[in-house]
């Protein structure tokens, strides 16, 4: 097990390296510089500023320097936010993103699995059709449609919840963003659960369990569910990617603090180091989640051998 984890982490390094390289040169190919402003800087001042950040060196040299920094865990200073390093920005802003993402995935998992199980047990009956219709809607209605519509109806017209803002993560402020983030995931998870459940319920060992006279609820909970949610585990990586994408929209609509906003703004402002830091952070996050998913898979399914 430990050896497997080590191997996977070792493979992750070239991946991250590729990510960093691609992002670095793409960012640098963009016209403009982080020090552009309405007022033109004096050439001497500009040269000084560039020298300060080592940007007067040839691009290849800068790339090597940057890689050396990253290898030591130093993501460099932000070029736009004075006196802040990229790590500072990540540290100060990850909390809302984390809170939103975790709550959304947790709720999506609980609701999605329950709906999927109900649908599978009532296959081709009303409950199933309703759940599947909702699931299709959930997949087809993008976050940037649900978010404004929910704000319009629930927050603006009915006034039940605040329309926007973070308010230190108060529950009322969390409800709408988390719902918006969770809905598409609920749709996908319930579909996956239903498909897995239907397949498993037809398996021989379920028939054996029934023949032994075990109560249906026990069969569902103990025997079927465990096997049926296996496909969900492999969905963990893509789910996380989906949440990140969704959070870009949600942060914008609900005016929340968080990491997503920095990415777009920094990219537009050519804040190279912040953009690179974000890319590295998210790529690493997804790599780790994929690894966790594979480990979890092996724990749940003893037939899978990690090698």
């Amino acid at each position: 097990m430990l050896r497997y984890i080590g191997q996977r982490l070792l493979v992750a390094i070239p991946t991250l390296f590729l990510v960093v390289t691609a992002a670095f040169f793409m960012m640098r190919a963009a016209p403009g510089s982080p020090f552009d402003s309405d007022r033109k800087l004096l050439p001497e001042i500009e040269a000084n500023v560039l020298a300060q950040y080592g940007m007067n060196k040839p691009l290849g040299q800068q790339y090597v320097d940057y890689l050396a920094g990253v290898a030591k865990g130093d993501l460099g200073p932000s070029l736009k936010y004075r006196d802040k390093s990229v790590l500072d920005i990540l540290k100060e802003n990850y909390e809302p993103s984390l809170k939103l993402g975790l709550s959304a995935i947790l709720i999506a998992a609980i609701v999605g699995v329950s709906l999927g199980v109900i649908a599978a047990l009532r296959q081709n009956r009303t409950a199933d059709n309703v759940v599947m219709a909702v699931a299709i809607l959930g997949v087809c209605i993008p976050t940037f449609v649900t978010a404004p519509l929910l704000v319009l109806v629930i927050a603006s017209k009915l006034g039940w919840l605040p329309t926007a803002g973070w308010n230190d993560g108060a529950l009322a402020n969390l409800v709408l963003p988390v719902t918006v983030l969770a809905l598409p995931q609920i749709a996908i998870i319930s579909r996956l659960t239903r498909a897995g459940m239907i397949e498993v319920l037809g398996a021989n060992y379920i028939r054996t369990a029934r023949a032994k006279g075990l109560p249906e609820s026990l069969i569902v909970r103990k025997h079927a569910l465990r096997a049926a949610i296996l496909p969900l585990v492999s969905y963990l990586g893509p789910a996380c990617a989906g949440l990140i994408t969704g959070s870009l929209v949600v942060e914008k609509i609900f005016n929340l603090p968080g990491l997503g906003k920095f990415f777009v703004i920094s990219a537009l402002q050519r804040d190279y180091t912040v953009v690179m830091g974000m890319v590295i952070f998210y790529a690493a996050l997804i790599l780790v989640l994929n690894l966790l998913a594979d480990l979890l898979y092996a724990v749940l399914d003893p037939r899978v051998r990690l090698a």
Partner: protein, 293 residues
């Protein structure tokens, strides 16, 4: 023995894979209804912009914030007095076009990549699929955003950027399919019959690849439309005054307190379009590969 050319008498016609698939598809009511709805939407997007009395970018300072059904504006107007119906039809056209073109890009890259990897096999296969794995584990949206920022938001680039990202799954599907097909008995038989490599690929591999590829194409188009709208929503995609569904929804979301119709109608069109594609994709999958049900 070569088959004699059929002159007049129609030979006994076997039911091909595609005949079967068509019959199964026609029995799927959701898919048939979606095809009809989508045909209407495509028609509206194609000819609609020429039929509306207003141009999509025609500003009318006298008629701002008109609710639907006033002053000849069927769906109302926006903050600049532009006719929503005209903008919606144009936006739908742009979104559909992006969906089609970007999907074609992803199709070309994906099929070429996947078929090469699958057919050649060995080290090359391993290297090519490793690249796909690496790209897969990236938050792709970041790279699209970087692309848009790097090269500015023009429509052609949106096509290419999204297409260049969406080919990954396509190449995996094509490779997997090629691998299984390569070792099938009918390919072996064709080889034994002396058919050349190109002929085998063209006559036996590609037609059998087509099924899953077609299914995946119908599922890629909505994904692309969604990705474009997402970019436009963040202000990185299609630039106003040009319209796309994403641009319209973003505009509608910021004005929804004053003019909810600006949000509701574009959202509705978007959702219906995506649903149609998804139903057709699901229907095609069930029709072409019934064992997946």
């Amino acid at each position: 023995m070569r088959r004699a050319p059929v002159a007049s008498a129609p030979a006994v016609k076997g039911r091909s894979l595609w005949d079967d698939a068509r019959r199964r598809l026609l029995r799927n009511r959701a898919a048939v209804a979606s095809v009809a709805t989508l045909a209407l939407l495509v028609l509206a997007a194609a000819v609609g912009p020429y039929l509306t009395p207003f141009a999509y970018d025609q500003v009318d300072k006298a008629d701002v914030w008109m609710p639907p059904l006033t002053n000849g504006h069927l769906l109302g107007t926006d903050a600049l007095g532009r006719d929503l119906l005209a903008r919606l039809l144009t936006g739908l056209r742009v979104s559909l076009a992006i969906g089609l073109v970007a999907t074609t890009v992803s199709l070309l890259i994906g099929v070429a990549w996947g078929a090469t990897a699958g057919y050649v096999g060995g080290k090359l296969d391993e290297a090519m699929m490793r690249i796909v794995d690496v790209l897969y584990s990236l938050p792709f949206i970041f790279f699209v955003i970087l692309l848009m920022v790097t090269f500015g938001s023009n429509i052609v680039l949106i096509f290419v950027a999204i297409g260049a990202v969406e080919w990954l799954t396509m190449s995996r599907i094509v490779r997997g399919q090629t691998l299984t097909l390569k070792n099938k008995e009918f390919v072996e038989a064709a080889r034994a019959a002396g058919l050349g490599r190109t002929a085998i690929v063209a006559r036996h591999i590609v037609p059998n690849l087509l099924g899953p590829v077609v299914v995946y194409v119908t599922l890629t188009i909505p994904a692309v439309i969604l990705a474009e709208s997402f970019l436009s929503f963040l202000g990185l995609g299609v630039q106003p005054p040009m319209a796309s569904l994403g641009v319209l929804i973003a505009g509608g979301a910021s004005d929804m307190e004053l003019a909810p119709w600006l949000l509701v109608f574009p959202s509705l069109v978007m959702v219906v379009t995506l649903m149609c594609f998804n139903f057709i994709g699901d229907g095609l999958r069930d029709a072409i590969d019934p064992k997946d049900r």
